[in-house]
């Protein structure tokens, strides 16, 4: 966890603006991610047409999340869901999914 925080800070120095600089600030990524298993597979391993979230690249995750949130990416439901989380929570989710094999 500590190493990941350090990595996040390093990223924040090299990239401009949210979301890529987002810090999890203690938000519990593993528990937040429990919400996702209802559709994304019981081990976040994908289900049917729904995305496998394991090992999702952190920066890509944050970018796609932001595109859903701002309706820049076509969506059925993820646009509505992404608007319900704080920056720190999204960062914690990104850290968590990136850490999965």
């Amino acid at each position: 966890m500590r190493r990941k925080r350090f990595f996040a800070i390093a990223v924040s120095l090299t990239c401009a603006g949210w979301p890529l600089t987002a810090l999890s600030e203690g938000a519990n990524g593993q528990m937040l991610a429990q919400a996702c298993v209802g559709c994304h597979g019981a081990s976040w391993d994908g289900q049917g047409a729904i995305t496998d979230l394991r090992g999702y690249d952190r920066d890509s995750f944050l970018r796609v999340w932001e595109e859903f949130r701002t309706d820049e990416r076509p969506a059925t439901i993820m646009n509505r869901i992404t608007r319900g989380y704080t920056e720190a929570e999204v960062a914690a989710l990104a850290d968590f999914f990136a850490s999965l094999d």
Partner: protein, 431 residues
Amino acid sequence: MNNRYSRRQFGSLITASAATLAMPRVLRAQTEGRLLVIGGGFGGATAARFAKMTYPDVSVTLVEPHSSFVTCPYGNLILGGKKQLSNITHSYDGLRARGVNVIHDRAREIDAEGHRVTLDGGDVLEYDKLILSPGIGLRWNAIEGYDEAASEIFPHAWWGGDGSQITNLRAQLEALPEGGVVGLSIPDNPFRCPPGPYERISMIAHHLKQANPTAKILAFDSKEGFSKQGLFEDAWAELYGDMIEWIPASQDGRIMRVDPENKLFISEFGEEHRVDVGNVIPPQYAASIARDAGLTNESGWVPVDQHTFEAEAARDIHVIGDANIAAPMPKSGYIANSTAKTAVKAALAEITGRPAWEDPVYFNTCYSHAGADYAVSVAAIFRPTAEGFEATPDSGGISPRGPLSELSRNRRLESRYADAWYESITNDMFS
């Protein structure tokens, strides 16, 4: 409590570790505490599986009367002819394989003070923490004449049970005379699965459109409005023409009495409606074990702490799922699944020394099938507040409304995602 994970005790644990490792697993499990889960549905099965996976050294026992679980979600698809009972029936073998002690018996009585639960079979189970996920009870005779015997003629099909209620209703729909009338009686809030009756209307219409296109559906409602109303009404107009008539309370939609023998629904103003098939979804409250244990308030539901789901009326009993009071969160399978994990973390924090989830977020998505390749959804993200629960502002909401010509791809995708939801969440309960 034996806090195996605290740093302070680490030194003494090193010297003890050789002996600990040599001990049989069952003995060590006992030292980590005993979690008892009552009810093997969306709340209880999720809680048992999550507890065993997250805290392998805690002993987890699940008490559930039925030897397999029939889900309420997707039961309506049996009515629509899209699923069979076997598609919505789940085994507890997966939980057993993970080390959950599954007991098929009915929990009869909770001794909250003594931390004991007595089963119908006579066994007494002791617990350190209890997760109670008992589901709903039906208020027999709240609608005059609607008791358990009447539910054989006018099925409620509002719990899974052994599957006989939903298959009874399906068989009656198949036997509906040509041009016959299907009547539904729908309760006032709160009740299990707010969009469920309207998905049911849709799936019955889906079946009748093919099998009996001149049949009628009369949906008598005790409310003035309902979940995803615009989306359902759009779908009904687009897919089923004038087959469905929804009658709100203000238009005498409240059914006060039923006469199963003569196949009658009798309204608030005394109007008698003859139906060929009747589906009565009666008013509900928390299942009897929660009421008998004194956990419910005057509403018949269980007040709980919004961070831990501990019952206000008893220490060490965490009540999840449809039985609790958690408005504006719906009584849904997804909320039961989501809150189960928070409740388990809170219940086991003291025993294991691992922290509860301090700032939990609760999550709901409900898909409803309105026709073939046609589903709509509602999503919401909830957080605890000082007073209760709150939907996170400017988020969630329902599928977009608009003409089917523009939204057919969206509806089709949501129908596929609904199927994926069902697979995924039942795996999170039973795999």
